[in-house]
Symmetry: none
Subunit: 211 residues, 4 copies
């Protein structure tokens, strides 16, 4: 027998990586536009030069691509957010750091936004890429931690966290739809709105009430 070993990545490895990425990119678009349920594996591979079978060479199931996308987003965003918030000292700087990190992440994802399916209608309100959902989860955790330390027992934490996320999410989307994408201005808007509104919020005085 003559056994042949190919050493060094070579073209094979390259295309493998490229295909993996192509599927990921297509999946990001499709999930974003259609949502997990509506999106079909065939929708994904149609945006690709691959076949159904090839999809399953790279990911074991529709769910796995979704998870891979989410992991990827969370993994890329987590260190940025951690680094930023480590430097922060009070609530405002925490908030600003987190929002700025999130908006930077979003802006970095720009290429994805620009894609726009070949034949499909780009559904308006569909920004539910698993990556983005994962990022929100991370932000939510950090925010909760931040506010717990600084503001506990004074304002309705649950409501406040929810509001921060909601505003950041919405303004983030709006920001991405504008040209040029101005992350600084958007960050400023969010932080001023929240921090400005904070003192006006109803408080439960000394005697501890619950939520």
């Amino acid at each position: 027998m003559s056994q042949v070993l190919y050493i060094s990545p070579g073209k094979r490895e390259q295309t493998k990586a490229a295909n993996r990425q192509a599927i990921l990119d297509a999946a990001r678009q499709v999930f974003g536009e259609l949502g997990f349920e509506t999106a079909t594996v065939r929708d994904i591979i149609r945006r690709t030069s691959l076949s159904v079978g090839a999809f399953y060479n790279y990911y074991r199931s529709k769910e796995e691509v979704f998870a891979a996308l989410a992991d990827d987003g969370a993994r890329r965003f987590k260190p940025i957010l951690r680094a930023q918030s480590a430097k922060a000292t009070d609530f405002e700087s925490y908030l600003r750091a987190a929002v700025a990190a999130y908006f930077d992440f979003l802006a970095g994802e720009r290429e994805t936004w620009l894609a726009g399916g070949p034949g499909g209608e780009p559904l308006p309100h569909a920004r539910n890429t698993p990556e983005i959902l994962a990022v929100f989860e991370e932000v939510r955790r950090v925010f909760a931690g931040i506010m717990d330390r600084d503001l506990a027992g004074k304002v309705d934490l649950d409501f406040l966290t929810a509001s921060c996320i909601a505003v950041a999410r919405e303004i983030g989307d709006k920001m991405m739809e504008r040209r040029p994408v101005d992350a600084e201005a958007a960050t400023d808007f969010v932080v001023r709105l929240i921090v400005g509104g904070l003192p006006s919020l109803p408080r439960f005085e000394p005697s501890g009430a619950d939520a």
Copy 2:
């Protein structure tokens, strides 16, 4: 060979309307719990005394019930919102009126919220009843009008509207998850946050605004 019994021939029109409503009610629950894609027509009629066939006597498709639900919500909410905001004089009272109207609407929908899937977990992000989405659209229009009159050219209207909607939506959901449902407190939270933050918002003074 097949014997036919007509039971209570009564007011045809009455029962027709009742069936229409029964489907609508069932659909509201099901779409709320499962989302449009996951929900099946059979899921809907199962919560009804009707048959699949009857469903198609009243609505031409799954999509049509969804649309009907949206119309219904918008129709019921529009007059309330209009009446409330007619009495308002400045931005704060406008905002408060609109948010209060929305939260009242939500609270009135309570039965729906109480449903809770038979065997399943009350899916987290499944609060997208078409009615609710329609209400948001209406709120968005009114808000835009209000702010256009009072604040135009000074703050980023698009961002501000988006923020109001986002916060109202999120806090509305949170409110509904609490017992007892306290619409007044929730309204207060939203209004204070927004109105309190308003003065801190960046303004583009004399020179022209952008898009």
Copy 3:
């Protein structure tokens, strides 16, 4: 509303029952010819005037038809076998009763044997209808009980049971391939062979050996 109730079976019920049976018959053929794995649901419905969807109106899965067939066979055979063997007094009459019951059952199934797919090749050695497998299981149990009582400790029970089943099975198939089908002759052959051979079988003498 006018509610209409159709009372008495009517044509609907009739065709339902007919379809159920048609699927069962088609499945018996297909499983017999192809085996459970190889047989596809489409193979089954192709032998029917129904659609894929209809199949699932009647049976929840491919496995369920298989089970239904097996249950049916076991249910029909069990009482016959029980009745026959209740009357038996020694091993020979037991054996004869059981074999006769099995061969009668087989002969009663004749229509099925005559079917023969429209376009497909009637694979030679494929008599593994779930019904028949179920019948064998039942026979095996009864035989084991019988021999346990009469012959325990003297001959290799496991070998003997296996031999009885094997011979009955094989001769049963052969019998069905002949015209006319002569159950009595076949039964006689099996019983004589086994009962005649029994005294020659090796025994483990007084001192108990194991199997």
Copy 4:
């Protein structure tokens, strides 16, 4: 860019034969454990140091390995059986020789039997290795010849052959499941049962036989 190493250019032919055999061995195991349909080509090559591609270098299809296995078994068994039965003088010695040969063949295949699925239950009716089926065909032919010579016109030859095969097959399987594997005892059981039963079999004396 891709570096190619040829390892041990050695005797081409030797390794080719070895690979062929490796595939055959793996296939024997896999078909035995899983059956033809359930077994996948990947299941086979996974028990090999080869790749899917290599599989198709040696065999043109999954079916071809199956056939090759059958041929192999028949080829190996045929001479043994022939030799044994050449020495036989009457029916009993013929039968004993054939059964002994078959059981020896089976015992020689022991390694295969020992395999036992990695995670799964050793499927009950999955002893249909093509080799074994082929062996049966051969046995059937020899038996038919033997009995034709010795017993023609007196007993139902077709029934008797079928019974011999059925019993040998079944007892062979049982034998292989016991420890230690005792081919002699098993042979004795089969021969005594059949030969003992033979005189009791119904005969069609003077007048003509049917088919």
